[in-house]
Amino acid sequence: MGLTKRRQAAFTVIGLCLLAVMLFPVYWMLNASLQSGSSGAGSTLLPLHPTLAAYRLALSQQGGNILTSLVISCGTVVLSLVIAAPAAYVLAKTAIRGRSVILFALVVTQMIPGIVIANSLYPVFNQVGLLDTRVGLVLADTSTALPFAILIMRAFMASLPGEIIEAARVDGAGFVRTFVSIVLPISRNAVITAALFSFLFSWSDFLFALTLTTGSSLRPVTLGIYDYLGDNVQAWGPVMATGVLSALPAIVLLAFAQRFIAVGQLDGAVK
């Protein structure tokens, strides 16, 4: 839409103001994490004397939790992809009976409140010894990631031209081989997108971490932050530093994966 130079400048200024308001909390987190970390009231608007003391403290207190989160998130990504990719292919490219029922169920599962799942998983996990375990959290987190991963990969695979698959079959490749050496490589972008979101879901999971752990033996970083908030916070520095650290994987991954992600693909996951 054509705008005059002057109106363009006005739009840029308004946009910057808008952004400043929206991003203020993010800035405040970063700002506070770089200050001495003593008391909250003493923070200034700018980190004039930046120090990494808060990060040192955060890493010593939450380093293990961050590692725990990494392990759980990677586990969730692997489990989700291994289960979701073949299912997505079948749901995209074969005329299997009951396909629409399965797809319908996948959409509905995304709308079940997590507290329902947590409430009923707790007694079961307690019984089979999965409380306070990484495996338990991976299994629970996969319940958030899996339906999304299947739907997003299916949407992409459904758009693949059938001739590619037929050509492979004519050349003698079996069902499995077609999937592994043709469909998967072509669907790389969709697979990466699904992996990224599985990671993000699991990394930021709070509810399962809160409900499916009992002691202090296993703490993902989201729970570490929540623990900070539990007792009246005295020093916000380490809390904010942990917040920044907890945002880093998402930002790094997204920056890395951006060229693979077509936002248009996301449509497939909500329809």
Binding site: M1, L3, Q8, A9, F11, G15, L16, L18, L19, L23, P25, M29, G40, L91, F104, V108, T109, M111, I112, P113, G114, I115, V116, I117, A118, N119, S120, L121, P123, V124, A140, T142, S143, L146, P161, I164, A173, G174, F175, R177, T178, S181, I182, P185, I186, F206, L207, L210, V221, I225, Y226, Y228, L229, V233, T242, G243, A247, L254, V263, V270
Partner: protein, 321 residues
Amino acid sequence: MKTLDRHSPPSGAQAAVPGTPPRTRGRGPRQDRAVTWLFLLPALVYIALFFGYPIVKNVLMGSQDYTTATFFTGSSPWVGWANYRTFFTGPLAGTTFLNTAVFTVGSIVGQFSIGLAVALFFRRRFPLSGLMRSLLLLPWLLPLIAGTAVWRWILDQDSGVLNSVLMHLHLVHSSVPWLSSPSFALYSVIIVNVWIGIPFNVALFYSGLQGIPAEQYEAAAIDGAVGWKAFRHITWPALRPVVTVVLVLGVIYTLKVVDIILGLTGGGPANSTQTLATTAYQDSFVQFSFGQGAAVSNVLMVVSLLFACLYLRVNRRASDE
């Protein structure tokens, strides 16, 4: 898409090396069908174990006296509708429903209107617009509980930056108890949830706006429809499918929020921010009354599924068109 270039055959095509015994040729449709189900099986098993079973189990638990004692004794007597009766006739049922409704409606109205306005704003091309649009997504990348933590501090009565700014500007005379007063807490929680929801709303609306052809506006401008008129006659009707999706997804998402509320207020003060989701959590995991928690979360599930049905109906109609 480069990978689909027909001139370079997919690498798998070399699988058909001449002379390879017709190992694969024997695979008839029947064998294929077996493999198909094997591909699907893990997903089906997982869904059954982690959705099917929990939902059924939760419905059953809602009618049981299921407490920590159950873990030791193994007995969980049937109590019929007692858990539901306890909830619905309890002193807090009204508050909880009202809070849930206010939290949901307030969040949606805020996210929706601000999100739409911001998306409309960024539809224009001006210097830095693309960069600003991507930066706007940042809050969405923070784990929810991290975003909640910084807001907890911003809104703190004594050490929070919001109060100190407001006091410096002489907009208020004494610090506002954003989170510690029952009359403010719910609104504060809504503000934070709106903040978190705006990027998602902007992203959906923006991509919806991209789908409206510029010629429509040009044609309308000739007829004198610009500004508000153009919005009413072109933008809004064209966005309607997106609007429905955004609204219903927003409701379903907001109904189940626990991170923000637990992190900011823990449901307090004086239960002023207690919703169905947090009540279910408190009943089960603070009071360890799992049957009671199941009953409340079943109520939440029914409410969510009602909206889900609405969504699926609308969506089906939208994709039929």
